[in-house]
Amino acid sequence: MLRVTRRNLLKISGTGVVAAGTGGLAGILATGIAPAYAQQKTVHWLRWNDFVPASDELLRKSLLLEAEKALGIKVNFETVNGNDLQPRITAGIQSGAGPDLIMLFNNHPHLYLASLADLSDVAEAVGKAQGGFYDISKGNCSSGGKWMAMPFGIIGAMLAYRKSWFEEVGYKTFPKTWDEYRDAGKKLKAKGRPIGQTMGHSFGDPPTFSYPYLWSFGGAEVDESGKKVVVNSKAAIDSVKFMVDFWKDAHDEGGLAWDDSSNNRAFLSGTICSTLNGASIYIASTRKPEQYQTEKGGLMKDDILHAPLPAGPAGQFGFHTFQSHVVPSYSKNQDAAKAFLTWLHTDANYEKWFTSQKGFSTGITASWEKHKMWGEDPVMTPYAVAGRLGRIPGYPGPTGPKAAEVLSKYIVTDMYAKAIQGMPAEDAVKWCENELVKVYQT
């Protein structure tokens, strides 16, 4: 039996491979340089389960393979429920190990500022090449001149509604004010077709509804300095009172327990007439048109339109779910993660992902508003400018870790949810004020 000692193995491998001129085990040990195949960097990328599954498929089956070829970087792509992104980054930061590249929503990067790598070089280069970022990109992703997150996409939040049903109750065009919307909703609820609004603890629809709703009545969590809590105002109390009746008159009351996918299911099954949504409802209806039909047997996609949230006494506002990527400072692959981000944001590569979204996510710079995709389907056109119109939690003050904490705790959403459950409007606003003071003044 051939006995191979460690010494012999080193000799054999060294001799053979030196002859081949490529190293070998002895050569490797002598030079201290790992062979090329072992040098390949790996980036662990964590994102949410996209509401447009085709985009995750594109990444898995094509884009990441192209990245591997172009950069020599293998990307391990993992997706989780959007609500689990924050727990994952917290665990990573505290344990000092975890994904190298993590997607976050809205202004959440501010919560982890001290533990994130500086992405200014990547962000500034992309911003410059694509004509400059939107203000909401800067607000969500930068602090003190430093970009701690790289903007990725903006999920426009608009009301998806059933055109024919609104016409049946006399609204040929979508209601422009909350009063009109309530009136239409009341009539439709009486016909068993209520408005559906998520008001639970979920990252997307609940805050993208409750924040602009509060702003449209003239309410806000803080003043322009971002330091003084001002929610306990007549405007906020009026907004809560209106909401209580609005909910009872016009909404599906199950919305208190909904998450971000519940309203999609309800709408597509024909049980609600309107709901605040990224365009995922409409996109799902176009991808499987035969599956989603109206009660009259027509295609539901042909009966869906989009409209912005109605205006209140103080105007019309929007808050659009923002996606960005961060590289935690614990990552040992920061350079590779940055290189991958840079590659991903080149026009040609980003465009593939952008078009796969079919308008569910708009771009992070104004240049994407002009993309030809927006001309393909007029139903999606209103989403093109979402990045220009949205505000950030903390408005009218600057956003930051405090506003991000308030958002993470769902304080503003819960103010309305508590009142809907029976708490007097004044008490609900007072409760909100107390919670905000605890965040902002401690």
């Binding site: 917290t90 001290a114 208190l256 327990a257 705790k409």
Partner: protein, 306 residues
């Protein structure tokens, strides 16, 4: 032994460490000690350290004494979570005990297919909680609830019941699912206890003229009490610190109405990154559970020394 030692002169020195019972005991206990240290003692000590600082995710905090505890004491949601936890534990334990005992008494009878039914009854306890709770979540779905559909079909309701959107109903739902899941544990453990009771005692009581109710009160129940106490106390500890059932079913909603200590600690500590507050909320469970454990140990000791 004395003869052997006399024959060899001096006692034979122990050459192997494990021949010494004290070392052997130490080595045998070592794996348990390591596990307890790593997964119980270390997180517990770390939790205490965190709760007396103002640590946030990624930002090491300064020592602040009991300020965090004072903060959570003044937190309305924390108080709501504390009340919910007590209510949830108390109500579920009463129902689990009553139904578990009833089931155990039924299963203790002789009937065809006894073995199969006994195994079948364990299913809710065997299935991972997250999976079974997801099934319940679908049954309570605000729009597509099969329960609502069923009730409407048989004419009991004409409008959907908002199972998880109404604070009281949502609390009722998490209690019902916990009872559903916990009854088999009570039933099987109490059944084991019932089977240790000698039938002769029942026969003797029957000969003395005791009816079924009297036999249960004066024979079965006193003999079953030690097992019952242990089962109840274990259940109280588990229920008090429950997380996964509530997290999957309601995530503490609607508007924090069903938060328990564990789910609220998770929301504040892990989701929002306020690690010290999360740790303090978790530790608030400790005094209650500590009392429960002390009570349990004292009771078991009393039973052992009878």
């Amino acid at each position: 032994m004395a003869t052997m030692q006399a024959g060899s002169g001096a006692p034979r020195p122990r050459t192997r460490l494990l021949e010494d019972e004290r070392w052997l005991a130490f080595f045998l206990l070592m794996p348990t000690l390591i596990l307890l240290g790593l997964f119980i003692a270390y997180p517990f000590a770390k939790g205490i350290l965190l709760s007396v600082t103002n640590t946030r995710v990624g930002v090491p905090g300064d020592y602040v004494g009991l300020a965090i505890f004072e903060k959570i004491w003044n937190d309305g949601i924390f108080r709501e979570a504390a009340w919910n936890t007590i209510l949830y534990t108390a109500v579920t334990t009463v129902f689990k005990l009553a139904l578990g005992l009833w089931l155990a008494l039924l299963l203790n009878r002789h009937f065809r297919g006894k073995a199969f039914i006994r195994a079948f009854i364990l299913l809710p306890f065997i299935i991972p909680t997250v999976l079974s709770t997801f099934a319940w979540k679908w049954m309570f779905d605000p729009t597509f609830s099969v329960l609502n559909w069923m009730l409407r079909e048989i004419g009991v309701i004409d409008q959907r019941i908002n199972w998880l959107g109404d604070p009281d109903l949502a609390m009722g739902c998490i209690i019902a699912v916990n009872v559903w899941r916990g009854v088999p544990f009570f039933a099987i453990t109490l059944l084991a206890g019932l089977q240790t009771i000698s039938p002769e005692l029942h026969e003797a009581a029957a000969i003395d003229g005791a009816n079924a109710r009297q036999r249960f009160i004066h024979v079965t129940w006193p003999l079953l009490l030690p097992v019952t106490m242990v089962v109840v106390l274990f259940s109280v500890i588990q229920t008090f610190a429950d997380f996964q059932l509530v997290y999957v079913l309601t995530e503490g909603g609607p508007a924090n109405a069903t938060h328990l200590f564990a789910t609220y600690a998770y929301q504040i500590g892990v989701r929002t990154g306020l690690l010290s507050e999360g740790a303090a909320i978790s530790l608030a469970m400790f005094p209650v559970l500590f009392l429960v454990v002390i009570f349990q140990l004292l009771y078991i000791r009393r039973v052992e020394t009878r």
